[in-house]
């Protein structure tokens, strides 16, 4: 386990973003996707990035994952550059689509990163069984992706991201394509998974209630250019049931998120 403390014994951030900017060179004119973003994510945090389409939340997540290259500012993961972090397999990434390999069974999909890392067969089998148990998919090892529902496929994708025990879990609207009932169910499972594993999570979402339900902190972003408008602490108890969404405290935080989005003209035409 990596310690969250640095050499001076202070609690340091696992993700440290300072004045980050990222500009895409489009054909006609440059597009500013991220503008002067500063954000610290502490170990064990569950941080949601919320905002309307085009606000750069996915770009920010992809920059952390070294899938996009920032054009300015600094971005460190455990004191390392994103590329070093990627090469040391510091994070697991869950995409919007499950991106499972159709020719591999559930079990062999979860094993994929373990094969790439080069673990031996017994260790691969052990970790795969452990992860599938964690996402509640024991008994589905030999199924092919097309035999599973969308929600189950996304759970396989989460198990796959966790299989090589990364410190950081990056999720890009993992439940965006699912119906609300399945989404509620998976939110509960994810909250439980986070509580049990203590992973640091960065979670991109469109949904206010999803963000409030899951997070310890919510980062509200605005589009064109992508900026952080507000960072809201979400101090609901760690053990959460769906009924927490009926409480006044939940409503209050949700209102603040909505207010932040409104400030960023997210509801304008």
């Amino acid at each position: 386990m990596e310690s969250p403390s640095n050499a001076h014994g202070q609690i340091s951030s696992i993700v440290d973003i300072q004045n980050l900017s990222l500009t895409f060179q489009a054909a006609d004119k440059p597009v500013v996707a991220l503008d002067n973003i500063s954000l610290q994510i502490k170990a064990g945090d569950f941080v949601s990035l919320i905002g309307p389409s085009g606000c750069g939340k996915t770009t920010l997540l992809r920059a952390i994952a070294d899938l996009e290259r920032p054009t300015g500012g600094s971005l460190k993961i455990n004191g390392k550059t994103p590329e070093e972090a990627r090469l040391s397999r510091a994070y697991g990434y869950v995409f919007q689509a499950p991106a499972l390999y159709p020719w591999r069974t559930v079990e062999r999909n979860v094993m994929l990163p373990l094969e790439i890392i080069g673990l031996d067969k017994a260790e691969r089998a052990r970790r795969t069984a452990e992860q599938l148990d964690l996402v509640g998919l024991k008994g589905f090892e030999k199924k092919f992706p097309w035999q599973l529902s969308g929600g189950m496929q996304q759970r396989v994708s989460i198990a796959r991201a966790l299989s090589f025990a990364p410190e950081l879990l990056l999720m890009d609207e993992p439940f965006g394509a699912l119906d609300e009932i399945t989404r509620d169910h998976l939110n509960l499972q994810l909250a439980e998974l986070w509580r049990r594993t203590g992973k640091t999570c960065v979670f991109v979402t469109h949904s206010i209630s999803e963000a409030v339900f899951l997070s310890t902190r919510i980062v509200v972003m605005s589009p064109r250019p992508g900026r952080i408008l507000d960072i809201i602490d979400c101090d609901l108890p760690r053990e959460r049931g769906l009924e927490i969404r009926e409480t006044a405290q939940f409503a209050e935080i949700a209102a603040r998120v909505r207010h932040g989005l409104k400030e960023g003209h997210s509801y304008d035409d």
Binding site: L67, R86, Y93, F95, A99, Y101, P102, P113, I116, W146
Partner: protein, 287 residues
């Protein structure tokens, strides 16, 4: 079996047309033959002669079946009068050519997918190679290879390979590029090496494309082998049998060779399909 009836109907219609065609095409010769014989003849005689004529312009299906039957059962399979002997000769150069085509086609495809310069430099040649008529290429290759001391299977297999590498290259390039960009991003998050991306992602993703190409390639490989047997005056092989059939006006022999070539082609395509079912069987929802 709702498909049996339509297929049977079409088959029946074809047979009716075939026998009718035999009367039309063989009729003039049969008439003059009967005239020459001098004796009286009926319409029934006329039709029977049309359908059983020795050197018919259009032999009838039962004549072809009888010819095949005699060829298959009257001689040992190693005898050149048995059509299996010729089928074996052609099939062996087909398979050698197909395997060479597969290797060459796959190497080209992998190169093209991984190196941009190869795509712009090789692709035009790959496409141009197929615009040249194979009937022009075949004699040249056979003469050149013969001069270098290659005779028998090798020159024929080269013609097969020349035809079959093309669909394999095209199909495999398409297949290796068929991956979702998300899948590539995923491999990047695992810091996978180039070869891991190839073996674990690109190649398995390309298999459905590859097998479609392989079915085309194996059939075209057989065409290549038969074509290669034509200009060389080969003494063995289905092409040689076609050639002697046309020299001596043995239309029945040509037709029975054609039937065997078609059956051989079906068997080869079926074999590729069987390998496909065994390797990529369950990866997709049954459609």
């Amino acid at each position: 079996m709702t498909r049996t009836l339509p297929v049977l109907t079409v088959t029946l219609v074809l047979f009716v047309l075939w026998y009718a065609g035999a009367i039309v095409l063989n009729g003039p010769q049969v008439t003059s033959m009967l005239e020459r014989s001098g004796s009286a003849w009926t319409t029934a005689d006329f039709i029977r002669e049309c359908w059983n004529m020795g050197r018919a312009v259009l032999p009838t299906p039962h004549q072809i079946v009888i010819d095949l039957f005699h060829s298959l059962f009257d001689y040992s399979p190693t005898n050149p009068r048995n059509i299996l002997f010729h089928a074996y000769v052609t099939a062996s150069s087909t398979l050698v050519g197909f395997i060479v085509g597969l290797v060459v086609g796959a190497v080209l495809a992998v190169g093209i997918v991984h190196m941009r310069t190869l795509e712009s430099s090789l692709m035009p040649w790959v496409i141009m190679s197929q615009t040249v008529p194979i009937l022009a290429i075949a004699p040249m290759l056979i003469v050149i290879l013969g001069n270098m001391g290659f005779t028998g299977v090798v020159p024929k297999a080269m013609i097969s390979a020349y035809l079959s590498f093309f669909p394999i290259t095209i199909g495999l390039v398409k297949g290796l590029r068929s991956i979702d960009p998300l899948q590539l991003d995923l491999m990047r998050t695992y810091s996978a090496t180039q070869s891991q991306v190839f073996w674990k992602l690109r190649l398995p993703a390309s298999l459905p494309f590859l097998f479609t190409s392989l079915k085309v390639a194996v059939a075209i490989s057989l065409v290549g082998a038969i074509v290669a047997e034509l200009p060389t005056g080969a003494v063995a092989g289905l092409g040689a049998r076609l050639l002697t059939g046309s020299y001596y006006g043995q239309m029945v022999q040509i037709w029975s060779t054609l039937v065997v070539a078609a059956v051989l082609s079906l068997a080869l395509v079926w074999a590729v399909g069987a390998v496909q079912r065994a390797t990529v069987a369950q990866s997709k929802a049954p459609s």
